[in-house]
């Protein structure tokens, strides 16, 4: 075998391993959302079901968590994008000698652990309230102890730094001569900013906003301290995991994954279409020839996946209305019962045999193993039952 073939195989193997490491957990997680087993698991596969989506949509705490997560996310986007933009503009205009110091200062929140940011935000605003002498129950006092207010500030304190990094990258390509040209043509500084700088920064603002929203949405470390009596999705999930989870969380994960892929593909498809249009405009590419695929799909794998995904979604909704997992569930339950019965009988038989031989060979020094405790379906063995709330008690008893 030639060495190039070997390298190619090794490279292929590497990609398979890399992508299964990267995407494997997501696939497994998504599959568990469709297994009727009460604990998130893939094997043993019980029944194909959509019931966890129903459980999810009926779970008030998750719904509320998502609601507050979105509100906080939007607040964080507004605050951190404006702070990041201001910080990056200052960075390009500040005296060169101060620049590195300023940069370090602005970037520091990224390096500080989120937990510290959370606690210090909480403490700081409490102190601010004290310092201003706001009376208990007054509007300011309520604000300084309001979970949404504190969480937006706490998260923005470091998400603004991320946003700034995005802006700085874009600003480095900005020609300050453009602002000067605008001023020279009679624009005020505000007009120059609004008509020249802001349109130039628009793509960066969009990506910083998406970044800020996602960072806010998935944040736990800071939020858990600043959220006080509210709940975000992450804190709700953390709470659920502590008390034992069911696959409705997998179904939420599946929805988020699907949405992410959907948006990413739509974005990519749009970008490619735009690039193609520009290429055609500049005469660098000819308009595509007619093929059997509609023009939207031609030469665009992202769009093909996109459409396939849409079909799957439609198919899912369709089958959900037709297909009922109830009969399967009953079957599975029965099969399980039979299996359990069989094992009990087996054990009893074994014991009988042992008793007989024990009677022959003298006293039995081994403790007879107790018959296997019949577990409720919820504890069918995944994760070594660590999430089974009964564990703590049984450990104590043993």
């Amino acid at each position: 075998m030639s060495s190039t073939a070997l390298i190619r195989i090794a490279l292929g193997a590497y990609f398979v391993i890399f992508f299964s490491y990267l995407l494997g957990p997501l696939v497994v997680m998504s599959l568990t959302a469709f297994n009727s087993s009460a604990f998130p698991s893939v094997s043993p596969w019980a029944c194909f079901t959509y019931e966890w989506f129903e459980v999810l949509f009926n779970d008030k705490s998750i719904r509320q968590g998502i609601y507050y997560s979105v509100i906080i996310g939007l607040g964080t986007v507004v605050l951190s994008v404006s702070m990041g933009l201001a910080a990056s503009i200052v960075l390009t205009q500040i005296w060169p000698r101060l620049r590195s110091t300023y940069y370090t200062m602005i970037i520091a929140p990224i390096l500080i652990p989120g937990v510290v940011l959370g606690i210090s935000t909480l403490v700081f605003w409490d102190r601010v309230g004290d310092f201003l002498g706001v009376s208990e129950g007054s509007l300011l006092d309520l604000l300084f102890h309001n979970g949404i207010f504190l969480t937006i500030l706490g998260q923005s304190s470091f998400i603004a730094s991320y946003a700034m990094l995005v802006f700085v990258a874009r600003l480095q390509r900005f020609d300050p001569g453009l602002t000067e040209a605008a001023l020279d043509l009679g624009a005020t500084h505000t007009q120059a900013f609004r008509k020249i700088m802001l349109p130039f920064m628009r793509p960066a603002i969009a990506s910083a906003a998406v970044l800020a929203f996602l960072a806010s949405f998935e944040n736990y470390n800071t939020t858990t301290f600043t959220i006080v009596d509210y709940k975000t999705l992450t804190t709700v999930l953390a709470q659920k995991v502590r008390l034992g989870i069911n696959p409705s969380i997998s179904s939420l994960a599946f929805i988020i994954i699907a949405l992410t892929i959907f948006v990413a593909l739509a974005f990519e498809a749009n970008r490619r279409n735009q690039a193609r249009k520009n290429a055609v405009k500049e005469g660098k590419a000819s308009t595509p020839k007619k093929g059997f695929l509609p023009p939207f799909l031609r030469g665009n794998p992202a769009a093909i996946v996109f459409v396939a995904l849409a079909f799957v979604a439609i198919g899912m909704v369709g089958t959900a209305q037709q297909y009922s997992p109830e009969s399967c569930k009953i079957q599975y339950q029965e099969a399980k019962q039979i299996e359990i019965q069989r094992r009990i009988q087996e054990l009893q038989q074994k014991r009988k045999i042992r008793d007989q031989s024990g009677a022959r060979n003298g006293p039995d020094i081994f403790v007879t193993p107790p018959p296997k405790k019949v577990q409720p379906e919820g504890g069918s063995g995944a994760f070594g039952n660590v999430f089974d709330p009964g564990n703590l008690n049984s450990d104590k008893n043993n």
Binding site: G177, E180, A181, L183, L185, A187, T188, K195, F200
Partner: protein, 370 residues
Amino acid sequence: MSSGVAIDLENVWIKFGDFVAVREANVNINGGDFFSFLGPSGCGKTTILRAISGFLEPSDGRILIGGADMAGIGPNKRPTALIFQNLALFPLMKVWENIAFSMEVAGASAAERRKRADELLDMIALDGQGDKLPSELSGGQKQRVAIARALCANPDVLLLDEPLSALDLKLRQHMRTELREIRRRVGITFIYITHDQGEALTMSDTVAVMKSGVIDQIDTGHNIYDHPSTPFVASFVGENNLFRGKIKQISGNEAVISTRRSGDLLAQITPSQVGKLSVGNEAMLFIRPEALELSDSKATGKTSISANVVNQEFEGNSFSVFLEGDGGKQIKMSVPNLGQDNIAAAGENLSLRYDAANAVVMPVGELASE
């Protein structure tokens, strides 16, 4: 269109920390003039332009536009329009929006702006291209859009910062003509910054030659070339043969220089230095290559030089002959191409002569670095 407005720099100093970018500039620019600042890069000419347009304040002195002191007035309030070296067209705006930007910030309606932009597009021969983006235009077209954008603001003064330096030779020559044409049409004051003496001499009514922050000479292009007032101007503008020596004799505005290697040479004292030189002073004498000619006789007067031909180059409209005088003195002579095959063979000894009126003598000073 507004008519030209005069600009005066009174004793202007511009410093950046300890660095003096412009030293004691005194310039009077007449309304409607085409005025050029000529100098090597880093001589402070762009700094002067930025001070006139209001992007920086002079450290000392006054800038007057149309007689009004501009201190404390920002670039957006001055009646100037600047054409940037890199043009600085707004990349995200269409061509017509670029041109009408000054009206947009003044609050004009889209229809008004479009109408004016179309007029200007007509003027710069780009009609029908208004809906393109600047990136879709060629270099020369962008140049014209930048000029139209500046003119749209109805400025009293148009400032141009080496606007032609990025263009190729043919286009540059074409744009020179076009700029002159535009200037004739709008009749406003043009202030032009360049390091290209050709541009400065062909287009300007008046040229100011600058050297490291100091204005050496302000004069017409013709005078700058024929009567340079300092060795820097003489060596920076055009080509020149330099002879160093001591002044032997002065009579009126003529002087005889006893050069180190080429004997005694007669020359005119440059007008600004008449009466300031005295016998025995060190001096510099400049003779243009085209002022030298072949002499038939082997005369050894005070306006003739003997030299051996080293080599010659054909330049199209002329021959450049490189000679070596006594003691290895390098001399360049330019002979117009009138159909000769050859000027002289290498190694041939030639006798050169010149008119004393075409040679200038001046006190010793700094030269332009090659």
